[in-house]
């Protein structure tokens, strides 16, 4: 049984602050339905690297049958947090979230000291790829701050970065142009008959690395008949911080975004980043007891992924021009598993005239990106990626469509390295091509 000791500020062998919910851990009935869905289990065939095993470790720590050991920490970070197990679990256990919380515990149990110089230098020096970018020399600094990399560097002792991470990270960087955030007008007006007003949540990776994608998203929204408000002072959604176990910073960011978007008076809050969408939808839990419950509920009720949103309000197809292309669709984990959005992107793809959707096998299997996981576990990530690329290859499609920047980076890099013909497109880029300029 879980044992609370207020004197020592512990719950079982967990620190009381940000401990996994014991009820949530107890809910696991160990049926093993999660095993075949877990990329790290399939990779290692090691029970402790499975969702069932990880939850059992957390339970043992809560029941004081195990210390919060190095191995528990390792498993917390080895988990991709892809949430495939959440989809598979009959009893509603969210092993990915339990592990996310264990990462926070790991930082408390194994405090890091010092800085890893290489990483910092990489961010600050190598990420400055072109003279054009030097004009906006804010970029590397912003990347560094916003992506949670700053935090990652500070705590880098917790992480075991593989030897090849830096090379890969450099190879993954897309050609950067000006960040979108400062270019987007505060209001892009609806076209045609107006259907409502949305607040656009522009993710950090989107504005910095994929400004063209989000530019298309805004075009699509306007074309669909929505006023698009993009507040310039929006903050990072907090997902990178959650991922790396820094829940305090995540809460701070969440609370600022909550206030900002609730004060906008929009009908919906829409994002084109699956990772951000998933984080925004968790504000209700992250900020539980720290913000007004009604306000959190109201916020949650407004948040939509872009494809979820368009399908819900009904896609306006008038004026769409044909796009002659065969595409296959990779489901981002944080869209299909974390948000349960699987049918909507396909409906959108099929609604675009001229586009042929060729389903790949295992479309909802992780691509091996998973925030910084793809850098920390370079070899394992490559194996997960290879499985995905094989499935892409088999479709023979012209384009690989996805809906999340993390997947986009990893897949584009992987396809390039493998010498494959496919170009990666965000779903909004594909839809954007169907909208006449």
């Amino acid at each position: 049984m879980s044992h609370t000791d207020p004197k020592e500020n512990l719950i079982g062998n967990f620190q009381a602050k940000d401990a996994p919910d014991y009820e949530a851990v107890l809910q696991c009935m160990r049926c093993g339905f999660c095993l075949p869905t877990c990329p790290t289990y399939v990779l290692t065939n090691r029970e402790r690297s499975s969702p069932r095993g990880r939850v059992a470790l957390a339970r043992a720590v809560a029941e004081q049958k195990l210390e919060f050991s190095e191995a528990v920490k390792d498993e917390a970070f080895f988990c991709l947090d892809c949430r495939a197990c959440t989809t598979a679990c009959p009893s509603g256990v969210r092993a990915g979230e339990v592990m996310e919380i264990c990462r926070t515990q790991a930082n408390a149990a194994f405090p890091a000291s010092g800085m890893q110089k290489g990483l910092r230098e990489f961010i600050l020096e190598k990420m400055v790829p072109s003279p054009a970018l030097m004009e906006t020399s804010m970029v590397p600094a912003r990347l560094y701050q916003k992506l949670g990399i700053q935090w990652l560097v500070r705590n880098s002792q917790v992480l075991k970065l593989g030897p090849k991470w830096m090379e890969k990270a450099e190879g993954m960087m897309p050609k950067l142009s000006k960040p979108l955030r400062l270019q987007l007008p505060d209001l892009v007006p609806a076209q045609g008959q107006k259907r409502g007003k949305v607040g656009f949540f522009l993710g950090c990776v989107m504005t910095l690395m994929y400004p063209e994608v989000s530019r298309q998203t805004v075009r699509v929204l306007a074309h669909q008949g929505f006023d698009v408000l993009t507040p310039k002072n929006q903050k990072c959604c907090g997902a990178p911080h959650m991922t790396e176990g820094d829940r305090d910073t995540a809460r701070k960011l969440a609370s600022e975004n909550l206030d900002l978007f609730m004060d906008l008076g929009v009908d919906y809050i829409v994002t084109d980043c699956a990772g951000c969408g998933s984080a925004l939808k968790e504000y209700e839990e992250i900020l539980a007891g720290r913000a007004d419950h009604g306000r959190l509920e109201a916020f949650r009720a407004k948040v939509r992924d872009i494809s979820e949103f368009i399908v819900e309000v009904g896609i306006r197809t008038e004026g769409l021009q044909p796009v002659k292309a065969s595409v296959t669709y990779h489901e981002p984990c944080h869209l299909c598993h974390a948000q349960g959005i699987s049918a909507q992107p396909r409906k959108l793809i099929k609604a675009i005239p001229g586009v042929e959707l060729r389903e790949m096998n295992e479309a909802s299997w992780c691509c091996g990106s998973a925030a910084t996981w793809g850098l920390k576990f370079h070899g394992e990530s490559q194996q997960v990626l290879d499985r995905k690329l094989g499935n892409v290859q088999a479709t023979g499609a012209d384009y690989l469509v996805t809906a999340n920047p993390g997947c986009h980076l990893q897949l584009a890099w992987g396809l390039r390295e493998a010498g494959m013909k496919q170009e990666v497109l965000h779903l909004m880029e594909l839809l954007g091509r169907a909208i006449p300029e």
């Binding site: 809910q27 049926c31 075949p36 029970e47 049958k65 191995a71 009959p90």
Partner: protein, 476 residues
């Protein structure tokens, strides 16, 4: 405690990556899917060949370690829980499909092949491996054979035993026996194969399996019927069978389960209904059409409240959705889910449901019952909280009394989960002291020193009851 030398020896034979002694690894081999049982092994090994299984077993014998075979740990009777510690031999890395023999309609697989992987591999060649236990996406063929696993198709197609043609097995003394093979007929002496099927790892460790394959059905129809009382549903089942129609699936869900599913997925199930039957007919299109009519007629005759027939595969999937979601819906209600597999003659289904209802009331429990009505195999599922001792006590009393009734009408205490740790006492009640004594003698003939999966199926007279929770307790 296993010695360092022994661990080194294992590493030499199996490779470092296939031997685990770290506490965090051992801890997660302490359970399977059975609630309330945990015990740590001293070492866990993952052989990749039959020879490595032999090597590991030889070492275990030398070190006097109990040997517990394990697949994916999805068992529901505690069969792979190492109650007396020792060595867990996990076969999931022996996962090659060695051959699909289209001339003989057989497949030869290693024990660690996942059931659904075999199904898919043979389906790609236009063949069919019917046994489909609920955990088929995860469970291994070795585990299925050791537990004689059933599944939804049991009614028409039988269970794992009906498909096992040959086995390769390592015995307690390290010798290998091969029993059966690709010959369809084989009456040469005792059928060791049939003894090993369902032996729960107590007679030997199965490393290779030859299974029978059949041609797949050409057509399938799915229907769903609702009933306003349980007796009518039971009558429908009996009449379908009596009409000599054998559906491939004939599944039942009671009112509690219907309501739990509706609470969970909100797909508009009629909450007031006492039961639903999911019926699937497969085979030659002409036969399927004829049988569909026959079933419809029977459903009308007995007075089913509603009948839906799927027009296409998509609709079939939506009709089957409620049944597919049953376990998920029930498992979410409470922290602990006790899933039993009482099985009765099909004509006594309605009586059994009535008894379940009476006992639910008597012991003030939350129970959802679903299962394979067509073969009389029910899953009365108690939704409880293992921390509530009083409730757990009542749950056990509930099953105790239910099994009494089940045995009195000629049923069995386990239709498909096995005895393992969970049902030792019930088995004794079902087969009597004489029955247990014979089983013990068989066990002795195979494993005179009691090294293989000790403490399962029947209580060891020589070993005192173990405190399972204590074994789980480890600290730095």
């Amino acid at each position: 405690m296993i010695s360092n030398t022994a661990v080194q020896h294992l590493i030499e034979h199996l490779g470092k990556e296939n031997v685990y002694v770290e506490k965090e690894d051992l801890l997660v081999f302490g359970y399977d899917s059975t609630p309330g049982v945990h015990h740590l092994p001293e070492v866990a090994v993952f052989p990749t060949t039959t020879a490595q299984v032999q090597a590991a077993m030889a070492l275990a014998l030398r070190e006097s370690l109990p040997i517990v075979p394990r697949g994916s740990g999805t068992g529901l009777s505690g069969g792979s829980v190492p109650v007396q510690g020792g060595m867990v031999i996990c076969l999931t890395r022996m996962n090659r499909i060695l051959e699909i023999d289209e001339a003989n309609l057989t497949a030869t697989v290693e024990a660690g092949v996942v059931t659904l992987d075999l199904f898919n591999a043979v389906a790609a060649k236009g063949l069919f491996y019917p046994p489909d236990p609920g955990s088929q996406k995860t469970s291994t063929m070795g585990g299925n054979v050791a537990e004689n696993a059933g599944g939804l198709r049991g009614l028409k197609y039988g269970v794992t035993r009906d498909y096992v043609m040959g086995l390769t097995c390592v015995l307690a003394d390290g010798s290998i026996i091969q029993t059966g093979g690709k010959s369809v007929k084989d009456v040469a002496g005792y059928s060791y194969r049939d003894l090993l099927v369902g032996s729960e790892g107590t007679l030997g460790i199965i490393t290779e399996i030859v299974v029978k394959l059949i041609p797949p059905p050409q057509d399938k129809r799915t229907m769903l019927a609702y009933f306003s009382d349980m007796r009518t549903a039971g009558e429908a089942v009996s009449k379908i069978i009596a009409a000599k129609i054998i559906p491939s699936t004939l599944e039942i869900m009671d009112k509690n389960t219907i309501n739990c599913v509706e609470d969970y997925v909100k797909i508009g199930l009629p909450r007031q209904m006492a039961a639903l039957l999911l019926i699937e007919l497969d085979g030659h299109p002409v036969v399927v059409a004829e049988e569909t009519e026959g079933v419809q007629r029977i459903l009308k005759e007995v007075g089913a409240a509603e009948v839906h027939i799927a027009k296409d595969a998509a609709e079939a999937a939506s009709l089957a959705a409620a049944r597919r979601t049953a376990l998920s819906a029930l498992a979410r209600v409470s922290p602990t889910t006790l899933l039993e597999d009482a099985t009765v003659p099909r004509s006594r289904l309605a009586d059994t449901f009535a008894e379940i209802e009476r006992l639910t009331e008597k012991y003030k429990l939350k129970v959802g019952t679903f299962g394979h009505a067509g073969d009389g195999n029910l899953h009365p599922t108690v939704l409880c909280d293992e921390r509530d001792h009083d409730e757990m006590h009542r749950a056990h009393a509930f099953y105790n009394e239910l099994y009494e009734m089940v045995l009195s009408i000629g049923g069995t205490v386990s239709g498909e989960h096995g005895i393992g740790l969970a049902k030792i006492e019930y088995l004794q009640r079902q087969i009597g002291d004489g029955g247990v004594a014979v089983m013990r003698r068989i066990k002795q003939a195979f494993d005179p020193d009691g090294r293989l999966n000790p403490g399962k199926i029947f209580a060891e007279p020589t070993t005192p009851a173990q405190n399972l929770e204590e074994g789980f307790r480890v600290s730095h």
